[in-house]
Symmetry: C2
Subunit: 79 residues, 2 copies
Amino acid sequence: MDVRALVGINVQRLRRGRGLTQLELSLQSGFTRAYLSGLEAGKRNPRLLSLERLASVLEVQIEDLVRRSKSGFGSSDGG
Amino acid sequence: MDVRALVGINVQRLRRGRGLTQLELSLQSGFTRAYLSGLEAGKRNPRLLSLERLASVLEVQIEDLVRRSKSGFGSSDGG
DNA sequence: CTGTGACTGCTAGTCCGTA
DNA sequence: TTACGGACTAGCAGTCACA
């Protein structure tokens, strides 16, 4: 699981959780809709301040964007 | 407190905690020493994958890099 | 309402020298 | 051991058009 995909999933979940469309989030965050689409798809490598901006609009901490959802706990990162 | 400064502080603390110099961290992470210097000073805006790389070398999660140290809890962000 | 490809401008990150 | 600045390269942010 790529971190980018992880962030994408979290953003989409958070966005939908707040009943927002990509368009609405784009308006509030200042990012374009097309960019958010790619972001949620895990195809983008956002900057720290971009993450901050997103977290702010979604009313969460940055750590909530990079945190793994619990669908299997413990990283099987053997090395 | 800027997020960039926050990350910088965390990186420096974690690095020193592991007894590493900037040079050693640069070797292990692949980033240049000059860059790490600016990063720890909070002057850089790293990308998500860069954060991941740093966290990996420091053996922590990305969230540990963006998390606020508890030196006064509660953001007075009235928002 | 959302995903994708080509394009342009900006900047993250590199390399080198100095204090 | 670390901080700072300038020129350079590669990759990303952001846009438009199409489905």
